[in-house]
C-alpha cells in the first residue's frame, strides 16, 4: 500500500483500535457516522478537566483566562484550517445540525412568500427538515435538485431551477449515504449569479477534503467535530461576516449580549452573538487538537490513502458477485453503500457485527435517496486513514460468510 502514510504509527495513536468486539479484533468501518479519537485529543480532554477547567470570556481569574485562551486558540486553528478571512466568522456550534438550524432560523426573518430555496435530492434529513420548516414558516417554496442513477446531482436541472426568486441553496459537499463529492464550486457560482446565498453541509467532506471557504466563495459552511477525530457535541459554522451581521441571533442568553436592560438588549459582536450560554469549552479545545492532528498527517496523504482503500474494497466486494453498489460517481470519498439481491442490509450488518465488523445499515437518514433506488436501505462501509487493507480483507470475508448464511 501507499507509503504516504505510516499506518502502524497512526493506528497506535487510536487506543480503541486495539480492542476486540464479540471476540474478534474490531474492524471499524462506520467512519461516516463518527470517527475514532486519537490519544492526543483524549489527552487534551483529560488535561482540560484536570488542570484548567473554568468558564470562559468573563472571569478575571487565571484559570478562566487559560481556558479562554485555549478556546480562542482553537477558533484560530479552525479559521486557519478553513482559510476564513476572520476569526469572527468561525462560530462554535454543537455540530452540523445546530449550524444548519442556526442559519435556517436566521433566514426566517429574511425570506418572503415569493422566495424560493433549493435543496438537493442527496441531502441528509438534517439538511432537509430545517428548510422545510423554514418554508412552512415563511411561505417560501422548496425546490429539489434531482439526482441521477449514479448518485450524482443533475446540475443542468439545477440551473433550470435557479431563478431571480432563488434566495438560498443548500447542498452537501459529500453525500453521507453514497459518498458522492458534489461539484459545489459550480453550484456556488451559479447560485451567486442569481444573487442567492449558499450553505454547504461539509460534515461528510471535512474529514477527507480541506475546504477553502474563501476560494469557494461559499456563504456558509458547516461541519461536526466528531467526524474529524474530535469529540461529539462540537462543530463549527463558518459564515461570511456580512451574512452573520445580517442574521438575527439564534438563541438568547449569556455570552451573546452587549447591554441588557428590561427595555432593550443590544447584542454582542461576532462570533459571540451566535454563542449564547456556556459553550462546549473542552469540546472546542479538543476539536482544535483534532484539526492539528489531521493536518500533521496531511489531507493530501489522507485522500490518497483513502482512495487506495476505496479502490481495493470496491474490487474485493464486487468479486463476491450479485452485489450492487449505490453511488458510482468517479468523484467519491471512501464510502461504499451496497446490497445483495434479495438480502436485507440489516441481516448483513447483524451477522458481520458478530465477526467484529462495524458498519452502518439502514436508510442513513437519507430516505429520499433510498426511495429513489426503491430500497429499504443499504449496508454502508466507510473508511478512514487508520483502516488497513487487512481490515478490508476481514470485512469482505465476513460479508461473504453472511451472504452464505443468508442465501
Amino acid at each position: 500500500m501507499s507509503h504516504t502514510i505510516d499506518i502502524e504509527k497512526i493506528r497506535a495513536d487510536f487506543p480503541i483500535l486495539s480492542r476486540k468486539v464479540n471476540g474478534h479484533p474490531l474492524v471499524y468501518l462506520d467512519n461516516a457516522a463518527t470517527s475514532q479519537t486519537p490519544k492526543v485529543v483524549i489527552d487534551a480532554i483529560v488535561e482540560y478537566y484536570e488542570s484548567y477547567n473554568a468558564n470562559i470570556h468573563r472571569g478575571v481569574h487565571s484559570l478562566s483566562q487559560e481556558a479562554t485562551d485555549a478556546y480562542e486558540e482553537a477558533r484560530e486553528t479552525l479559521r486557519a484550517h478553513f482559510n476564513a478571512a476572520k476569526k469572527e466568522e468561525i462560530i462554535f456550534t454543537s455540530g452540523t445540525t445546530h449550524g444548519i438550524n442556526l442559519v435556517a432560523s436566521g433566514f426566517a426573518s429574511v425570506l418572503t412568500a415569493k422566495d424560493e430555496v433549493i435543496v438537493s435530492a442527496l441531502e441528509h434529513h438534517s439538511n432537509i427538515v430545517p428548510w422545510q420548516m423554514l418554508c412552512e414558516k415563511t411561505g417560501a417554496t422548496l425546490k429539489v435538485i434531482p439526482m441521477t442513477e449514479s448518485g450524482e446531482l443533475d446540475l443542468e436541472a439545477y440551473e433550470e431551477l435557479l431563478s431571480e426568486n432563488t434566495k438560498l441553496v443548500f447542498v452537501n459537499h459529500v453525500s453521507n449515504a453514497l459518498g458522492t463529492v458534489n461539484n459545489i464550486e459550480k453550484i456556488i457560482t451559479k447560485a451567486h449569479q442569481k444573487g442567492a446565498a449558499v450553505l454547504i453541509d461539509g460534515a461528510q467532506a471535512a474529514p477527507h477534503i480541506k475546504a477553502d471557504v474563501q476560494a469557494l466563495d461559499v456563504d456558509f459552511y458547516v461541519v461536526s467535530g466528531h467526524k474529524m477525530c474530535g469529540p461529539t457535541g462540537v462543530g463549527v459554522l463558518y459564515g461570511k461576516e456580512d451574512w452573520l451581521n445580517k442574521l438575527p441571533p439564534y438563541q438568547g442568553g449569556g455570552e451573546m449580549i452587549d447591554q441588557v436592560t428590561f427595555e432593550k438588549t443590544t447584542y454582542a459582536g461576532l462570533p459571540h452573538k451566535f454563542e449564547a450560554g456556556t459553550p462546549n469549552i473542552c469540546g472546542g479545545i479538543a476539536f482544535g487538537k483534532a484539526i492539528d492532528y489531521l493536518n500533521e498527517i496531511g489531507f493530501d496523504h489522507i485522500a490518497a490513502y483513502e482512495h487506495e482503500l476505496l479502490t481495493y474494497a470496491t474490487e474485493q466486494l464486487l468479486a463476491l458477485g450479485d452485489l450492487k453498489i449505490y453511488g458510482t460517481s468517479s468523484e467519491k470519498t471512501a464510502v461504499i453503500s451496497f446490497n445483495f439481491e434479495g438480502i436485507h442490509p440489516y441481516d448483513i450488518g447483524t451477522i458481520i457485527d458478530k465477526l467484529g465488523i462495524a458498519v452502518r445499515t439502514g436508510h442513513h437518514c437519507a430516505q429520499p435517496i433510498m426511495d429513489f433506488y426503491k430500497i429499504p436501505g443499504t449496508v454502508r462501509a466507510s473508511f478512514s486513514f487508520y483502516n488497513t487493507k487487512e481490515e478490508i480483507d476481514a470485512f469482505v470475508q465476513a460479508v461473504k460468510r453472511a451472504k452464505i448464511m443468508l442465501s
Binding site: 464479540n22 438480502i343 436485507h344 440489516y346 441481516d347 447483524t350 451477522i351 458478530k354 445499515t361 439502514g362 436508510h363 429499504p376 436501505g377 448464511m405 443468508l406
Partner: protein
Amino acid sequence: MSNIKEIQEEIVEEFEMFDDWMQRYEYMIELGKSLPLIDEQYKTEENIIKGCQSRVWVHADMQDDKVVFTADSDAIITKGIIAILIRAFSNQKPQAILDADTQFIDEIGLKEHLSPTRANGLVSMIKQLKMYALAYQTKVQ
C-alpha cells in the same frame, strides 16, 4: 396445547444445543424462512410497524377463544425472532398473552435484538401483540 411458559422453556432448551452464535443464527434464519407468512391482504400500511432498520407486519385473528398471530418482516433475522415470538404467543388465550414476558429471549442470547434502540420493529411488535390480546380480552368480557 402447551402454555406460553412451557413453549418458552422448550425454545430455550432447543437453543442450548448450539455451541456458538453461528449455529444459533443459522437456526434462527431457518425459523425465519419457515414462518407462515402473513396473508398478503394484511400486509398493509395499517399493519406495518416501521423500524429504522427493518419493517414488521403483524396481524391477529380470534379463533375460538385463542388469538392467532401471523407476521412477516423484510429482514430474515428479524423474521427469525418473530417466528420464535409467535411460536410462544400465538394460539393462546388473551389473558395468557397479557401475562407473559419475553425473558426467554435473553436466555437464548438474543437480547440485543429486543433493545428499544435497535429500531428493528420488534419491541413495537411485542407491544402490538399485547395490544391485540388486550383488545380481544376486552371483547370477551
